[in-house]
Amino acid sequence: MTSRRSFLKASALGLAASAGPFFNRGTYASESIKVAGIHDASGGLDFYGKQMIAALDLAVAETNAAGGLLGKPVELIAYDAQSNLQLTTQYATQAATRDQADVVVGGMSSASREAIRPILRRHNVLYMYNTYYEGGVCDRNMFATGSTPGQSMRRLIPYVMNKWNAKSVYILAADYNFGQTMTKWFTKYTTENGGDVLGTEFFPLDVTNFGPTINKIQSAKPDMVLLVLVGGPHMSFYRQWAAAGMHEQIPMASGDLDHEIEILSPEEGNGIHVAYSYLDGLKNEKNKAFKKAMRDNYGIGLVTEMGAHTYTGFNLWADAVRKAGTVDRMAVIETLEDNASFDGPAGLITVDPATHHCIADIYIGQSMNGVYEQLEVFPQQAPIDTAAVCDLTQDPRETRQFVVEVK
């Protein structure tokens, strides 16, 4: 409950914040350094949210254990946006005005990112976005640590076509923005590598009967199937595919297979190929320590790219604060733009100053008994898709999300 006093205090802070130039945050704020996290701990996206919340908490705890930042403790303010856009917007505003956060971490779906981004830009609060997404956001106030299709799919498609000697593919995708965009990338990289797309099907998010589609695939006889399926109902596909005995017949690669493999049985989920800038099964020492901390302290078994890069994102920011000697937004942005990098569980991640996206190792992996094991690595892949439309060194005032033309 909000008491009248705390309401007045909040409003006073809000007024102070909107008073602009007269209000100097540096002199006012400063018992602790404030980090706000906005993730969905409940609702439809809760699985992703839980690991992101845990990863952020872990990163903050480690920083505090090492003495905090600039001699001050880091205070984490965690919001649960409940997979609800209205709450996302509300909490972003709260983080910027009432909490006076020095950085906001989170926003999970593209929709929630686009809700948060303009608010933080208006209030001059730095934003770290850590989900893999369709690419194209061009905003100097935001840094994106996740991979984009121009990084991951560019490597995955030729890899699997070569491995499976596949000349023809069949594409199944969720019928919404991400699925449509990914399908364009699938088609582009398939044809560029000399393959044919035999068919493409889009599914509304509530479809549970994939029988007709499976029959259609059987009559098209593709060499492999590419997937971008989303959410609970679509998981029926993997079950029906395996029940029809197709799992051993035609190999599959996916653009967004994530935590589903924890639920699918090995007969349904094993052997599906993916590409991300982090895989659960990476063998480096930092990942082993990270995985152990996630499991022991938070009970998180499978960690995927979003969780790992929430950790990356915070650490990139924290290193920049140490280097800049201040939490001042512009100073931190400029430090990050100076090719800031973080060598963590996902390997070396370097900020690309022109796009504010990251240059990262892209790992090809396959699902195996509930984890992703690494098959191949393509070191230091630049975000070429966003780079095609965005250059913040030329135009630092740009704020749009571009639709990357896929030709």
Binding site: D206, N209, G211, P212, S236
Partner: protein
């Protein structure tokens, strides 16, 4: 030839799915005029019963054919006793009450099982027809649907219990005056409807997985089928399922799943425009 055979099987299992998800609703709506908006959640509960029982080490067939209908049937009778029985004849109130029940069930199941999909693998392996392969389990839906409808028909047509049920359905006041305790008939009927829904949810769980909100994926199709079917609960459900399921599958084959769903809905709208009383309001009128 293989293509036709696999198409026919696909149509069969899609019709059987519609019959399964609609039958429980048809029993409750057709016999008692209760619009059960928690029908989808009855299916969902059936799914969770199976998954839970199976994960606890129970044989999958017992989990599907015994545990799920039993648990959901008993649950239905409890709901009838504590909520529905006070609301007979008040259609709007029952809608409100069952809608509330549906939201509550989704909430409770989410708290208990979490908001993630869980499931069991479909047993029985696969069957090859030339170049085509289909899961044997999805074909099993067809005999189960036939058995349920056939069993229901025999029960209503040839047993004393069926006679009493039909009598109460036709004229509750007259049945009561002849010494039938209609309250008990209603409670048992509601329980049977719930049990059939539970079995349907259990049958579908290995094919689709379960998630607390899975009911929403079924409830609209179930209502469309039952309303299109009209007054005769068994014949109506079967005829409407046959029509809509076949159309949906054929259009999905020829075009895309999106157009397939559009075709199903358009057909239902058209059907109700031409036959406002549902199919069995005009043809097969004397059937059950």
């Amino acid at each position: 030839m293989d293509y036709v055979a696999s198409l026919v099987l696909q149509i069969g299992s899609s019709v059987a799915t519609l019959v399964l998800i609609s039958l429980g609703l048809a029993i409750i709506f057709g016999m008692m005029r209760i619009i059960n908006l928690a029908h989808g959640e009855f299916l969902m509960l059936g799914g969770y019963c199976t998954v839970t029982a199976y994960n606890a080490g129970m044989n999958i067939w017992i989990a599907i054919f015994v545990v799920a209908p039993l648990v959901v049937g008993i649950f239905g009778m409890i709901i009838e006793r504590f909520i529905i029985q006070y609301l007979y004849g008040r259609i709007i109130d029952t809608m409100l009450a069952t809608w509330g029940l549906s939201l509550a069930l989704i909430g409770i199941v989410t708290v208990v099982f979490g908001n993630t999909t869980s499931g069991v693998s479909a047993p029985l392996g696969s069957l090859a027809i030339g170049d085509y392969r289909t899961g044997v389990y999805s074909i099993l839906l067809i005999p189960v649907a036939i058995a349920l409808v056939g069993g229901g028909w025999l029960l209503l047509r040839y047993t004393r219990a069926g006679l009493i049920a039909r009598g109460t359905m036709q004229n509750a006041a007259m049945a009561t005056s002849l010494g039938i305790e209609s309250r008990r008939v209603y409670a048992v009927t509601f329980g049977i409807g719930a049990a059939v829904s539970g079995l349907a949810g259990a049958m579908l769980a290995p094919l689709t997985g379960v998630v607390p909100t899975i009911g929403a994926a079924y409830v609209a199709k179930a209502f469309i089928t039952v309303i299109s079917g009209g007054a005769a609960i068994l014949t109506g459900t079967v005829v409407a399922s046959g029509l809509l399921g076949t159309l949906n599958t054929l259009v999905t084959y020829a075009t895309t799943p999106v157009i397939g769903s559009v075709a199903l809905l358009s057909a239902a709208v058209l059907l109700l425009r031409v036959l406002p009383q549902g199919i069995t309001g005009h043809v097969f009128r004397r059937n059950l």
